[in-house]
Structure formats: structure tokens, C-alpha cells
């Protein structure tokens, strides 16, 4: 049990992030949940690279046991990609706030849901709130 405690705790962090993404209607809260999930995946990758009694993978004559460097490299790449996708997601939230005046999922669905149900072919219905605020179309 204690040997697998770290992995069980990682699963708890992961599932908490997943729960926030699904259960909460606020778009920024969803992105916070996504960050939780993402960071716990980093932990899942880093955990098996560790050797108890070892040291960081920087070679030196005084040490012989090192952590495995490959997961570290993969997660370095993942962190940078994660911040890029997070920034894009937050930008989308800011645009949605400008267009709909809210970042709550329910209210956004309430604003363009009924029209979409009446005629799904009219795909422009979901764009029209943009024009209402005078910010759609060409840039100033």
C-alpha cells in the first residue's frame, strides 16, 4: 500500500481535475481543472524515473545512481505545450466573454441554444451574437 501510495495519490489528483472539467459550467474553472489534470499527468510520468537514494541526472564522478532522464525530457516538452494550449484556451474564453457577455456554459447555451435547435442548418445563428456587439467582422 505504502509502495503504491504515490501512484494512488496521482490518480486522485487526476480524477479531481477531470471532475472539475466535467462538473463546473464556468469556462475558466474548466481550464483550472484541465491544468490540474495536466500537472498530475506530469507527476505520473516523473514518478517511475525516480530511484530511491539516487540523484539528479547530472553526471559527476561522486555519484553512481541517477534518475532516468528520459521522462524528464518528455515532460519538459509537455509543460511548454501545456502553457501554449492554456493561453489559447484563455484567449477563447476572453472572446466568448466579449461576444456573449458571460463565461457560464448554461447561459451561453441559453443564448444560442433554441435557435440552433429550430434549424440546425442555419450555422450562422451561432455567429450572430458576435455581430450584435459590433465586434464581429473586420477588425478596426
Amino acid at each position: 500500500m505504502i509502495a503504491h501510495f504515490s501512484q494512488i495519490a496521482t490518480v486522485f489528483l487526476m480524477v479531481a481535475g477531470l471532475y472539475v472539467v466535467i462538473a463546473r459550467g464556468n469556462l475558466i474553472k474548466k481550464l483550472i481543472g484541465l491544468s490540474l489534470f495536466q500537472t498530475s499527468v506530469y507527476l505520473l510520468y516523473i514518478l517511475p524515473g525516480k530511484v530511491l537514494g539516487g540523484t539528479a541526472p547530472i553526471l559527476d564522478a561522486g555519484y553512481s545512481v541517477y534518475a532516468n532522464p528520459l521522462p524528464h525530457v518528455l515532460i519538459l516538452t509537455a509543460i511548454v505545450v501545456g502553457i501554449a494550449t492554456l493561453a489559447l484556451g484563455l484567449t477563447l474564453v476572453v472572446r466568448i466573454k466579449e461576444a456573449y457577455g458571460t463565461i457560464e456554459e448554461d447561459e451561453i447555451f441559453a443564448k444560442d441554444g433554441p435557435r440552433a435547435k429550430v434549424d440546425p442548418k442555419v450555422s450562422k445563428a451561432s455567429v450572430s451574437p458576435l455581430n450584435k456587439t459590433g465586434r464581429g467582422g473586420k477588425s478596426a
Binding site: I2, H4, S6, Q7, I8, A9, V11, F12, V15, A16, G17, Y19, N26, I28, K29, L31, I32, S35, L36, T39, Y42, I46, P48, G49, K50, V51, L52, T55, P57, I58, L59, V65, Y66, P69, L70, P71, H72, V73, I75, L76, T77, I79, V80, V81, I83, A84, L86, L88, L90, T91, V93, V94, R95, T102, I103, E104, D106, R135, S139, A140
Partner: protein
């Protein structure tokens, strides 16, 4: 065994912060808690001997992403609407996923053991790094030499995300802050 003890304490702290993030309704509080979460995670990475990852996580996870979140909050709302009804579906989905993950993890080798397959299989970068590249920091050697196409792909993703952000924000008059 001090390493195991510190790992467990940090994981318990991470669990407590996570419960706080799930329960809190103010978005500002949630963002600050997320910064604490990232900082604790960076500390845990140091204990797990992933020093390069720890530095990146502290700078990017606790620093830049908190700034992005705060910037987004200043352009939107800081208060989350209260839940209208208790939802059962998300709990079920989360529990089923947790069960599947725990089932999958039950076969994994013990934490911190030197006999894990990850240390005996695959390319032995620890032995190859000095003779082939002359770099003592093996993470840098793998990142920049052996797997530099990964880094090229990563740069492409960041570039694409940057173009996307510019395209979305260019429609706004006024400042181009994200």
C-alpha cells in the same frame, strides 16, 4: 526513507490544495490555489530528482500560467455562478475513471525501486551522454541532441498557438493583452 516521507507529505499537501480548488467558488482564490499547487508540484519534482522539470514547472506552471489566468480574470468575471442542482453524472464518470486508472496502475513496479524496467530497457543515455555529446547534464543532452526533433515539434505547437491567439485578439480594438 526520508525521500519517501517527504514525497508522501508533499502528496498529502497537493491533495488538500486540490480539494480546496474543487470546492472554492471564487475564481481568484482558485487561481491562487492553482499557483500553490504548481509550486508544491515543483518541490515534489525536486524530491523526485527531476530538477530541470522542477525549474520549468515553477517558472511556467506557478509563474506564467498564473499571470495568464489573472489576465483572463481581469477581462472576464471573478465569481463563479453557484451550482443550480447537484449533479451525479460527473461523480460517476470521475469514479469510473479512477477505478480504471487504479486497476491499470496496480501492476506497476514499486515506487523508487532500481529494478523497474524503465531503468534497464531502452537507450542508455546516462552512459552515452559524455562520450557522444560531452554534456554532463543528461536531460540537456537528450533534449537538444538525441530528441531535438521533439523540441522542433514543440516550437511548432507554440508558434501555432501564438498565431491562434493573435488571430483571436486582433479583432479587439484597444490593448492586445491575453
Amino acid at each position: 526513507m526520508i525521500e519517501t516521507a517527504v514525497t508522501i507529505i508533499l502528496l498529502l499537501l497537493l491533495g488538500a490544495v486540490t480539494i480546496g480548488i474543487v470546492r472554492v467558488r471564487g475564481l481568484f482564490a482558485a487561481v491562487v490555489l492553482l499557483g500553490i499547487y504548481s509550486l508544491l508540484m515543483a518541490t515534489l519534482f525536486i524530491v523526485l530528482d527531476a530538477v530541470d522539470v522542477a525549474m520549468t514547472e515553477a517558472a511556467v506552471g506557478a509563474g506564467v500560467s498564473t499571470v495568464f489566468f489573472l489576465g483572463a480574470l481581469s477581462l472576464t468575471d471573478t465569481v463563479e455562478a453557484s451550482a443550480k442542482r447537484p449533479q451525479i453524472m460527473p461523480v460517476v464518470v470521475a469514479l469510473v475513471t479512477a477505478g480504471a486508472l487504479l486497476w491499470g496502475l496496480s501492476d506497476l513496479p514499486e515506487f523508487g525501486s532500481p529494478n523497474q524496467p524503465i531503468h534497464s530497457q531502452g537507450a542508455d543515455y546516462l552512459a552515452r551522454s559524455i562520450p557522444e555529446t560531452g554534456i554532463a547534464n543528461v536531460v540537456s543532452a537528450v533534449l537538444a541532441s538525441y530528441r531535438s526533433f521533439d523540441t522542433l515539434g514543440e516550437t511548432t505547437v507554440v508558434f501555432t498557438a501564438g498565431i491562434g491567439i493573435l488571430a483571436l485578439l486582433r479583432r479587439r480594438r484597444g490593448e492586445g493583452k491575453s
